[in-house]
Amino acid sequence: ELKVEQNPLFLSMQEGKNYTIYCNYSTTSDRLYWYRQDPGKSLESLFVLLSNGAVKQEGRLMASLDTKARLSTLHITAAVHDLSATYFCAVGINNNDMRFGAGTRLTVKP
């Protein structure tokens, strides 16, 4: 059974600081997704990573994928309050399916 583990599950950080969220998974996969969810809202796609060594950046967020280590990271640079949300990674399985991690609830404090 596929396991997708995120850590930390809760993250409180100061504005301006850097931090990394980790996503480990237990089976081979060719694609990894990061989503953002604001309170009371649905999920918004952030990144899709499709190959080993893939790196994508959008603003203060950068995601990377190491398929050999079965690890993806979401790095936050110089955090701002607007980044406060829950971040989910999801691992692609089978042909068109994915399974989600438990999510990392990020709070950025002034």
Partner: protein, 116 residues
């Protein structure tokens, strides 16, 4: 263009009643998914439809849960004899092509179900 839509946005029902939740996927998307998210929790996979293939029902928590997808488009998730533990947000997502490209899932706004 129009995204994934779900209705109702909120549903309050009494324990033991049946409920139906509706999902309209993005036009042309062949894959449709249902997830459940309990308060403060991650996403629990429920069921997955792909074209005309038999759905993957492996995530349905009990036989009180069922889903259908008519004409390869709209889907209905039915929960019979609702229990309080069924209270959650039910999210629907759709995806364009199987086996090609990013196969990214696009999520609807969800239906918040409260069983009293």
């Amino acid at each position: 263009g129009a995204g994934v839509s779900q209705s109702p946005s909120n549903k309050v029902t009494e324990k033991g009643k049946d409920v139906e939740l509706r999902c309209d996927p993005i036009s042309g998307h062949t894959a449709l998914y249902w997830y459940r998210q309990s308060l403060g929790q991650g996403l629990e996979f429920l069921i997955y439809f792909q074209g005309n293939s038999a759905p993957d029902k492996s995530g349905l928590p009990s036989d009180r849960f069922s889903a259908e997808r008519t004409g390869g488009s709209v889907s209905t998730l039915t929960i019979q004899r609702t229990q309080q533990e069924d209270s959650a947000v039910y999210l629907c997502a759709s995806s364009l092509y199987p086996g090609q490209g990013a196969r990214e899932q696009y999520f609807g706004p969800g239906t918040r179900l409260t069983v009293t």
